[in-house]
């Protein structure tokens, strides 16, 4: 039985907000912007999702969890559809998501319009001491979405969420 509470998209999104990104466990897949939209039909439930990075291995885990949660709630014919256009951008991450990242020790992505040119080296303020005396150590980190930095003020290495 479909619970009446799940009659609209907003209710389904609230339900999906319980699913965390396995690689950034303080963020849920809705505030990340991975879940793009939900179409509710009588016989079919289609969830449009978009990958953050093409090869992100977390996507498969996330897809499995979304399917599980929706099927458990009794929604009919759950189907996931990967969409690539428009491409996912860190600009879709909510302010709330950025704050959570910072509190977790990961510098949030910059807003794209704040960057003069994306091709330039970009450093990030230290999430621990907030100093801007930081340097980019490597544009590639432990997951596709993160870069490695070092804070010269508090001598702490940290990660940032890359701006794309």
């Amino acid at each position: 039985m479909v619970s009446p509470a799940l009659g609209d998209e907003a209710a389904v999104l609230r339900l999906l907000s319980s699913i965390k990104d396995p690689e950034v466990p303080v963020l849920n897949v809705v505030e990340m912007g991975i879940v793009r939209r939900v179409e509710l039909g009588d016989r079919e439930t289609v969830v449009q999702i978009t990958p953050t990075y093409s090869g992100c291995p977390a996507m498969e885990v996330i897809e499995g969890q979304i399917r599980q949660v929706l099927e458990d709630s009794g929604l009919p014919g759950v189907r996931l559809k990967r969409v690539y256009a428009p491409p996912w951008t860190t600009d879709w991450m909510t302010e709330e998501a950025r704050r959570k990242l910072r509190d977790y020790g990961i510098a949030p992505p910059a807003r794209k319009q704040e960057l003069v040119q994306l091709d330039e080296e970009v450093s990030a303020p230290c999430p621990y001491c907030h100093s801007i005396e930081t340097e980019l150590r490597s544009a590639f980190g432990p997951t596709a979405c993160k870069a490695l930095h070092f804070c010269r003020a508090c001598c702490q290495p940290f990660e940032s969420f890359k701006t794309i």
Partner: protein, 257 residues
């Protein structure tokens, strides 16, 4: 899947294999560095690049699979085709060589890749244009990375300079293939699906020459050109690569974890 009008299904499928295969094969090559790169950060970086390339190839082969419409999955396209059926240019299948060789190939490929996908974003085949826009976000990171390494290697020690020159000399003959067109692509060009490869060559050469000059390196001499990958004529290296890449899928059909 709605196919573009006036385009043969098989031709479009073949074209998408070309795009998917070059990223699949290069991604697999890069993954061979995992655990072997000169420093930890670079090990992580190369693995990241490999992962991006594999993900991009998955999106392209998935589209190819839909276009083909014969229910071959992207995994089957990747793991159950023979070398002669692969459509990648030869440069991506060459063994990884030393670090200078890997980075030089990556740089030459990234510059091409960026120019190509900037045009592919405007493809009249909307699902392909969408993948191109996604891919380009990642290509920009790749290009920045390989360009910085070219500067460090060329302008580094005598040995890093010597090795990078040697790598460029070896790679040069394989670069022309990236800009060669054929009847298949000429047809797709006229319907606005595929970019004009030969038209990208000049911008590519200018940019490569600029970075090499900055790095204290020179453009290699024009040499005998080698090509054939897009029509299935490969070097002996591809078969060895596929043997390793495909053994699990072939030995344990349908395996999952």
């Amino acid at each position: 899947m709605k196919l573009p009008e006036s385009v043969d299904r098989q031709i479009l499928f073949e074209y998408l294999l070309r795009l998917g295969d070059e990223r699949l094969v290069l991604g697999h090559r890069l993954s061979e560095w995992c655990g072997h790169a000169p420093i930890l950060e670079e090990d992580i970086a190369l693995a990241n690049l490999a992962l991006d390339l594999l993900g991009q190839s998955e999106a392209l082969l998935d589209l190819a699979s839909q276009v083909e419409g014969r229910s071959r999955t992207p995994d089957e396209l990747a793991f159950l085709r023979e070398a002669i059926d692969f459509r990648n240019p030869l440069i991506v299948e060459l063994p990884i060589g030393d670090f200078a060789f890997t980075i030089s190939r990556q740089f030459l490929f990234d510059v091409y890749s960026r120019l190509y996908f900037e045009k592919l974003e405007a493809s009249s085949f909307e699902p392909l244009a969408g993948i191109a826009r996604k891919t380009l976000q990642e290509i920009r990171y790749h290009h920045r990375h390989s360009r910085q390494w070219m500067l460090r290697l060329g302008d580094g020690t005598e040995e890093s300079n010597r090795r990078t020159r040697r790598a460029l000399d070896e790679l040069w003959r394989f670069t022309a293939e990236l800009f060669q067109s054929d009847d298949l692509e000429a047809g797709l060009l006229s319907s606005g699906i595929a970019p004009d490869r030969p038209a990208l060559f000049e911008a590519w050469q200018d940019e490569v020459a600029g970075t090499l000059a900055e790095a204290g390196l020179q453009l290699p001499r024009e040499e005998h050109r080698v090509s054939g990958g897009r029509s299935g004529q490969h070097t002996e290296h591809l078969g060895h690569l596929l043997a390793e890449m495909q053994i699990l899928a072939r030995s344990f059909p349908g395996a999952s974890w």
